[in-house]
Symmetry: C2
Subunit: 283 residues, 2 copies
């Protein structure tokens, strides 16, 4: 497995955001890259690419209950830069986030972009994916499967709304409202089953999910696909059973003491070999 | 000119570092990208690529008198990753900087890397390239032309020392010591003449440089090339004439009120059309 994260020097890569303590303030930092051919197809509207690049990083801040302070952009020049800038302007305006700086380079071949977002935690301790405790209720804020429907609408040219795929909305207000109540929180970027499994492993617990509850926030008839699709940027969190959350969420399961499997769906581990979500790895 | 910086939404890109005020603390942020075929050649030792990627960003912090707090890496997987990680480990250890996080992606075609460095200003106001004042003396901390010699040693396989090109050293201690005395400061990443011109323009002044003084810190017989070569990461600064600097520097000129040309070399503007340094643009 060619994963840098296995190397001690690279520990922390692809994990949660970084939390940096500076004079009593907790800064939250995250960096994501997007590459042509991997994260978007050649010919994509570059305004959507810019929006998504910013939105996925802001979603990481949302999962920490952080308020964005700004972003830095790494930009490889190429076709559609006018549209890219337009999409960048739109998303920064929408979420009132300044572009602090960055770098522009000329290069050849498929393009890559990087974005760093920095925010300020609004609640301490800052929620991590490792904080779930046995007995907690598992909540999801937001829906799943919407990005999948948007992707299919684009792929099949149905004319149906594709904005959930093209222009995901980071749940910044929701994350800040939920942070004081969350034992653990993360955004569901790679698929609900995969990310729930990651949170369970990070918390040394077992997550027992209830598919009937999840079905209520998934497209009718598409539950199985929706649980394995990423790009939705819903917030997955756990809280004590009697928590009075200030935001409507769906209760989708319970946290159990660590068992044989980190993840149970209706009482049994998801089928062996079933793809749980999007893995950032080579096959 | 396909420069994003011309667009209002992208103002600040490719400029100085960003300075972010958070609760009385001045955070300094910078982001640079490096791409195969543009910033390094296919076949380069990836340990050197990793070192340089970190070092050039730390040099940006040095020019602000900032103490590094950490870095985030955007990494595209590929050949030589073991070496890349080794070089990353070395440079982070050398400068005692933690890897806070980042992203690893798989993509096709030439590789690109991004690095964000965050630091804490050790002196306020944080020196900017726009702070030079008429009457100031222009100083250079460090030498120029060493990276050029290193590049030539590699290109011509002479066996001479190429470390100045492969593994530049950010002047972090020097930057922190000089910051309280500097009206303006920046690192010379793209060539002394080009960067001096940029500082003069940002400060609305004219910089009058003295080639005899510069010759003392350039390789013998190579002054003209050395003033136009980048990658040296010396610190260019201006200070009042009677400043008592805590670090040895070379006095290379004077700041004049804004004249017809932002840059004079021995009293005359550098030849029209002469390449002053490395411009981050398409031809």
């Amino acid at each position: 497995m060619r994963s840098l994260a296995a190397h001690p020097a690279a520990r922390g890569l692809n994990d949660d955001c970084a939390v940096l303590e500076v004079d009593g303030e907790a800064l939250v930092l995250t960096h994501d890259m997007m590459a042509e051919g991997t994260h978007y197809l050649p010919g994509a509207n570059m305004a959507d690419v810019a929006w998504k690049l910013v939105a996925v990083n802001l979603s990481d801040l949302a999962a920490k209950g952080a308020q964005p302070l700004g972003v830095l952009l790494g930009h490889m020049l190429g076709d559609g830069d006018e549209r890219f800038i337009e999409g960048l302007r739109q998303v920064l305006h929408e979420y009132d986030v300044p572009l602090l700086g960055g770098d522009t380079i000329a290069a050849h071949g498929p393009r890559a972009f990087g974005l760093t977002a920095i925010g300020r935690a609004t609640h301490r301790p800052v929620p991590a994916r490792s904080g779930a405790k046995p007995g907690d209720v598992i909540h999801l804020c937001g829906r799943i499967g919407e990005a999948m429907l948007g992707f299919e609408a684009l792929r099949d040219s149905t004319g149906a709304d594709s904005s959930a795929f093209r222009r995901p909305r980071p749940l910044l207000d929701e994350g800040q409202a939920l942070a004081p109540h969350a034992h653990a929180m993360m955004d569901v970027s790679d698929g609900l089953l995969l990310d729930a499994r990651r949170m369970a492993i990070a918390s040394t617990c077992t997550f027992a999910l209830d598919s009937a509850a999840i079905a209520a926030i998934a497209p009718p008839g598409r539950l199985d696909d929706a649980m394995r699709w990423g790009d939705d940027y819903a917030l997955l969190l756990t809280a004590v059973p009697d928590a009075s959350l200030p935001i409507a969420t769906q209760m989708i399961g319970r946290v159990l003491p660590k068992g044989d499997s980190p993840l149970l769906l209706d009482g049994t581990p998801p089928r062996d070999g079933a793809r749980l979500g999007y893995e950032h790895r080579f096959p």
